[in-house]
């Protein structure tokens, strides 16, 4: 009864929504959105295909066992043991994380737990500006300031190019990443957990280090892995400040070549396309890709495995 009255009141002629045109619009929108999403997927697939295709061609000439196990990298002499390049990359990464993990984590704890609200509001964006400094600037800073500083003070024997300065400055570069991402994780720990600790007579320090940080652990690990990924893939700093000497087992004060730096050297040099030396950069690139992929998967697994549901 009531429904009929309602229907009688609204006149047919007043309503003009064209449902066919609307459906067409919906379809177009959906198509555009899907297409955008697929652009990045197809690009990634394309890159991986090209990378592995060229890599495969390289491994027709050089045995993969030699590539992965021998320790001399001298393409001109036909020695293709990738380990010296991996060593350079890992050395710089290790030094970088040794800087960025403690500084970044302590910064995150300070920002989230101790900093007054107003300070936090401008300190966090300021920190993120540090991430916006071009890496080429960091590289020259390491080469022209950090290395001479070490030579004039504690390490007179340090090389002009060395892993120590490059690694340290790379650590500074990834501090914002580590600090910002772990701060998000720490800040997201609910207040109720902190109050639970305070209510037992815990001090602020005990609450922050023993309750809040463990609760945010999965996010912190993700932050550190993200930092490591950035350090492994970082190119300009190691190219400028660490040198181009493949060096297996060398000390951090010596020059060594990172995987990315080798690729830059070959691409920027006179090496003819199609030569085995040129193809070797794809093999090195694949190795680099697999390293960061493994890290990202580890991070993904860790976050899912250890995330706390509040």
């Amino acid at each position: 009864m009531a429904v009929e009255t309602q229907g009688a009141r609204s006149r047919e002629g007043d309503w003009h929504r064209n449902s066919r045109a609307r459906q067409a619009r919906e379809r177009i929108i959906k198509f555009l959105l899907t297409a955008c999403a697929y652009v990045s997927i197809f690009t990634t697939i394309g890159i991986v295909v090209v990378l592995f295709e060229e890599t495969l061609r390289f491994f027709l000439d050089v045995s993969i066992v030699e590539f992965l196990t021998t320790t001399r990298w001298a393409p001109q002499q036909g020695d293709f043991g990738v380990l010296p390049l991996v060593y350079g990359t890992l050395m710089a990464t290790f030094i970088a994380i040794a800087v960025a993990l403690p500084v970044g984590l302590l910064t995150a704890i300070y920002l989230s737990e101790y900093a007054p609200k107003r300070l936090r509001r401008w300190l966090k964006p300021a920190l993120e500006i540090l991430a916006g400094v071009p890496t080429v600037v960091y590289g020259y800073f390491a080469l022209t300031f950090i290395t001479p500083f070490f030579r004039d003070s504690v390490l007179p024997g340090i090389g002009s190019f060395n892993a120590l300065a490059a690694g340290l400055i790379m650590g500074v570069m990834i501090i914002p990443t580590v600090a910002s991402v772990s701060e998000d994780a720490i800040y997201a720990v609910p207040r109720s957990l902190r109050e639970g600790a305070y209510a037992l007579g815990a001090t602020k320090r005990e609450t922050a280090t023993k309750i809040v940080v463990p609760a945010a652990l999965s996010g912190i690990v993700a932050a550190v892995i993200l930092g490591i990924s950035r350090a492994i893939g970082e190119t300009m700093i190691v190219t400028i400040a660490m040198g181009s000497q493949p060096n297996f087992g060398g000390s951090p004060t010596e020059s060594m070549q990172a995987m990315t730096a080798y690729i830059v050297q070959v691409v920027g040099g006179e090496t003819p396309r199609g030569s085995i030396t040129f193809e070797s950069i794809f093999a090195v690139g694949s190795a680099l890709f697999l390293m960061t992929l493994a890290l990202n998967l580890a991070s993904y697994w860790f976050v899912r495995r250890f995330r706390e549901i509040y």
């Binding site: 609910p190 109050e195 305070y198 209510a199 007579g201 309750i211």
Partner: protein, 289 residues
């Protein structure tokens, strides 16, 4: 850092010495008529920034009794209870004025350390908030940071038994506290509070997020707890207040936006059968709120 730690450590041990002297007296006097004083609150007011949330609260909380606080939502019960162990000030901009005596100590005096106060006055929250640790460590952690040197295994078992949780978790003490049901988590939080051996236990609607069976278990725990502890509980459930408490305080706001007042405070039986003020009667008989 180190000196601070020793200072805290000594503060805690002084507290336990003091309690060792006080406890037997309390234990002796309580069964008689319950005339021993647990906490004495005088002219307490609590603020959020410049907003006065509760005001002019004076009440005596009897030792080894359960004191329930009831009243409509938003009238300051939770704010008030958080003032009793200096948890209110943890919220940025929040502060309290007035006097709250715990034994000889005014907890708002200049020389009083909130860290020591919170250990003596424990708190169980509305929503279970176990730490991301094992069941065992959830209970043991508070004791450890407070410098407990005794047998931790024994302490954990005793606390879990008091919270009526031991039988359900004794075979999985190493598992995460998050794996427990809501009611079990809340009893874990009670056990955690008991493990630091406070004098007073504050409970802020401890059963409001739980099902009736879990609520029943928490209530049973409470009647057990008052043998050795002074309990103050905020509840929205009037039957619960009537069932478990010895004293009841009714909080009320006359006009929206005014601070909350302690409207009436008396023995539970009197509040529920023959209160002095009309608003109290209207509330307990379910006419509003």
């Amino acid at each position: 850092m180190e000196t601070k730690k020793t200072r805290e450590g000594r503060g805690v041990s002084e507290v336990s010495d003091e309690r060792r002297e006080v406890r037997p007296e309390t234990g002796g006097a309580a069964p008689g008529g319950g005339s021993t004083l647990g906490m004495k609150i005088e002219n307490l007011a609590a603020f959020y920034g410049s907003f006065r949330a509760v005001t002019d609260i004076s009440m005596d909380i009897q030792a080894n009794k359960v004191t329930a606080l009831i009243g409509p939502s938003g009238c300051g019960k939770s704010t008030f209870i958080r003032c009793l162990n200096r948890m209110h000030e943890v919220i940025p901009g929040a502060r309290a004025e007035g006097k709250v005596a715990l034994g000889e100590q005014d907890i708002y005096a200049k020389n009083s350390d909130p860290v020591v106060i919170r250990r003596r006055v424990g708190m169980v929250f509305q929503k279970p908030n176990p730490f991301s640790k094992s069941i065992y460590d959830n209970v043991a952690w508070g004791a450890k940071i407070n410098g407990f040197r005794g047998n931790v295994d024994e302490l954990v078992e005793r606390s879990l038994r008091q919270a009526a949780l031991w039988d359900e978790v004794k075979d999985r003490l190493k598992e995460s506290g998050f794996g427990l049901s809501g009611g079990q988590q809340q009893r874990l939080c009670i056990a955690r509070t008991l493990a630091v051996e406070p004098e007073v236990i504050l409970m802020d609607e401890p059963a409001s997020a739980l099902d009736p069976v879990s609520t029943q278990k928490i209530e049973d725990t409470m009647s057990e707890l008052k043998k050795s502890y002074t309990v103050v509980i905020v509840t929205h459930n009037m039957q619960q207040a009537a069932r478990i408490s010895d004293y009841t305080g009714f909080f009320y706001i006359e006009n929206m936006g005014d601070p909350g007042h302690l409207w009436e405070f008396d023995e539970t039986e009197k509040i529920f059968s023959n209160p002095d003020r009309k608003e109290t009667e209207d509330y307990v008989t379910g006419r509003f709120g």
